[in-house]
Amino acid sequence: MIEIKGVSKKFKDKTIIHSLDLSIKKGEFYALIGPNGAGKSTLIKLLSGLLQPTKGEILLDGINIVENPKEAKALIGYIPDEPTVWDGMTGFEFMNFVGALYNIPANEREKDIKKLLKIYNITGTEHQLYQDYSRGVRQKYSILAALLHNPSILLIDEPIVGLDPISIDITKNILDEFVKDGGTVLMVTHTLFVAQELATRIGLFEKGKIKIEGTYKELVDKAHLPAKTSLDDVYKNYLAK
């Protein structure tokens, strides 16, 4: 469960997030959509502990990430918008290093990595250097690394950039299964069809605030649009207002 209570984030004199309150329950898939510069990525960086809030508190499964960062971070799986990793590492070493950071014993890690590589059918690439991987392969490794320690919360910044259609389907299945198993997902994205298909709740984020939120159906209804209007069109409609 994610609880955001009165969180603000300022960079010097510029406020990016304005007293935000948001609660995402266990087993819920929350998609945050919005224009560039709205503060979505900043919010996800606050939740993952990459940034510290200027005001307010963030609780992950009841643990305050500022007060108990190690315990809170152990619950998170984070998929970044840019899957950059040290060029001199192989894919296997990267996953192994991530596993070691989460205190997974070495013998368990190796078994888990082998199992995860099969999901995207990338077994055979793991002992080659990261610098030689394509964008898609890098993205797959960063998704798999986020799942390695069985997190209860997934924080995702653009999950499918650079993936081919089959890999997109696999990714959607992974996320779907994760939520069905009781996991909590917060996803920031511009690929709205993924949000439309997977999210149980969608929030439109603008200028550091949630402008409107609800299920896909609720958003369509509130905008007084025909039932099968795509989220793309619903989004444009709200922004035009």
Binding site: I16, G37, S41, L50, P69, A106, Q128, S134
Partner: protein, 558 residues
């Protein structure tokens, strides 16, 4: 094309304008401090030059030969700095992914001009802080006129340009040689790292050759003979240096004020301009081909890549956070050929200095056993050692929290604190530097016949100073992380980078000087040891506090 030139030339001005667009007062203050630091360094070098020459001039017998030696040494230093810099800049220009979009336009050849301009500008920066004060100091001391001083500036500029061009030509030759070898063996082996490794191997072979020819000369004879013998000995030792001839012109200009200096400066400057134009035309014609050659590599987008080299992946056996950071650092240093090359160059130079100690001792012993070197030689050995440690720290430790910029998410989201990272980096780099540095330092002391107890004191001071330098680099890195660049060369020219350089080098000189002054009094040495320990504890505390406030990411501009 001319518009692109205009845009590129106006770029530095735009950067300054953008830099001053926000927090104007703070940033003007930062520039003011930077200029003060440069001025401080410049004035220190100017004063040191005059005082040094003043000291030398008291020895009437050796004076003239030493002036000649200074001119030679000065230009050799300029050569090493600008030649090395030009190779690094030109090699880095082919690695910059941000240049891809320019290379894809019809104006791609502009990059040849930009890179040549960039590498000349970056080589010429040492003018500001080092060359101008040294030349002005010599001119002031020798009382030469303004024209001679101006000509010495022209000569040095021409020398830097020629050396930078030589660096470019050497790199181009290396790439084309690899291309030729690729056609011979039927496999593409052209790569940046291999091109640089080839250059390093060639340089080492050339130094080894020079060493073999120059080393049989007699150093001590220099101190025994008259002016003619001294100059003869000096020339026999130095004639193999690449800057020998041109340094002789500088000597003629500033120390002898004769007509040869003026004439040769004019001829050399003309030749430099001709060479510059020729190399620009050459680089302009081959830049695209070299770019294409150096962009090729492995590309893995799927499973079927059996033909591509695989690596033996490391297992990260530990589950302790600090231990993992140490393992990761070791792995990445080992995998990055550029990093390894840095270590090899710095340690190679340090070993070369040790070989000189050995050679000088052997030479001195020919004139009677048990030659005792003056105390300042041992302090100098300590200063040289700490200087090399500072250079390695600037490259490897100072960028710690800036270099992790793009990969910060991996450590930032994991249950590991910035303090763990700082401790990991402190342990690994202190360990490596002491592991490599201690035997070299001890070897120097053994060669120079230093006693066991004073050598032990020097080693303790050296070890604590290594910790101090590494801690300083980590503290500045975590307190002032750079969100815009992770490139060690760029970071070293930022304000915290310059602060690190000034503090580390200043501290090195102070510690070595104190050791020279107090070595005969053990109590004072113990006091110095305590002082460095207190500084280490203070820096540890500052680093801990900075790690508590550290954020892995900066403002996202969208």
């Amino acid at each position: 094309m001319s518009e692109s030139f205009g845009l590129l030339l106006s770029y530095p001005g735009q950067v300054i304008k953008r830099y001053l667009a926000r927090e104007k007062f703070t940033r003007i203050f930062a520039i003011f401090i930077l200029l003060l630091i440069i001025l401080f360094i410049g004035v220190s070098i100017y004063v040191t030059t005059i005082e040094g020459l003043n000291f030398i001039s008291r020895d009437i017998e050796l004076r003239d030969a030493l002036y000649f030696y200074i001119a030679q040494l000065f230009y050799l230093l300029v050569f090493v700095l600008s030649f090395g810099n030009s190779i690094l800049v030109i090699a880095a220009s082919f690695a910059r992914k941000s240049h891809q979009w320019i290379m894809a336009t019809p104006s791609f050849s502009i990059m040849a001009f930009v890179n040549l301009f960039q590498l000349l500008a970056s080589s010429l920066w040492i003018f500001l802080a080092v060359i101008i004060p040294v030349l002005m100091g010599i001119a002031q001391f020798m009382g030469v006129d303004g024209l001679q001083l101006f000509l010495s500036f022209v000569l040095t500029t021409a020398l830097i340009i020629v050396e930078s061009i030589c660096g470019v030509l050497a790199y181009m030759l290396s790439v084309y040689l690899l291309r030729y070898l690729s056609t011979l063996i039927g496999r593409n082996i052209v790569s940046q790292s291999l091109a640089i490794i080839l250059l390093v191997i060639s340089s080492v072979l050339m130094i080894a050759l020079f060493w073999r020819i120059a080393i049989p000369q007699d150093f001590v004879k220099f101190f025994d003979g008259n002016y003619i013998v001294q100059m003869q000995t000096m020339k026999e030792q130095l004639i193999y240096l690449p800057t020998f001839g041109i340094a002789q012109v500088l000597h003629d200009l500033l120390f002898c004020s004769n007509i040869f200096g003026t004439t040769y400066t004019i001829i050399f400057t003309g030749l430099t301009l001709g060479l510059l134009i020729t190399v620009y035309v050459l680089l302009d014609k081959s830049y695209l081909v070299m770019w294409q050659l150096l962009q090729e590599g492995n590309y893995i987008a799927g499973q079927d890549n059996k033909r591509i080299n695989t690596y033996k992946s490391y297992n990260f056996p530990a589950i302790n956070a600090v231990h993992n950071i140490i393992d990761k650092e070791l792995l990445l240093i080992w995998r990055d050929k550029k990093n390894l090359l840095w270590f090899v160059i710095v340690i190679g130079l340090w070993l070369a200095q040790t070989a000189v100690s050995w050679r000088v001792t052997a030479n001195a012993n020919n004139y009677g056993d048990g030659y005792i070197f003056p105390d300042f030689v041992y302090a100098l050995i300590l200063a040289i050692g700490l200087y090399f440690i500072s250079a390695l720290s600037l490259r490897f430790v100072f960028p710690t929290f800036s270099a992790e910029r793009k990969v910060a998410w991996i450590l930032g989201v994991a249950p590991i604190s910035p303090w763990n990272i700082a401790v990991g980096k402190l342990l690994i780099y202190t360990g490596i530097f002491l592991f490599l540095g201690s035997p070299i330092l001890i070897a120097n002391f053994v060669i120079l016949g230093f006693g066991f107890f004073p050598a032990l004191l020097y080693w303790i001071v050296f070890s604590l100073s290594v910790i101090l330098i590494v801690l300083l680099a980590i503290y500045l890195s975590i307190a002032y992380p750079n969100r815009f660049s992770s490139d060690p060369e760029t970071l070293s020219t930022t304000l915290p980078g310059l602060a690190f350089t000034s503090l580390a080098l200043g501290g090195t000189i102070i510690i070595a000087n104190i050791m020279y002054l107090v070595l005969s009094n053990v109590d004072l040495v113990v006091l110095l040891i305590l002082l460095i320990t207190v500084l280490n504890l203070l820096l540890t505390s500052l680093t801990y506090n900075a790690s508590e406030k550290f954020e892995y990411a900066g403002e996202i501009i969208a």
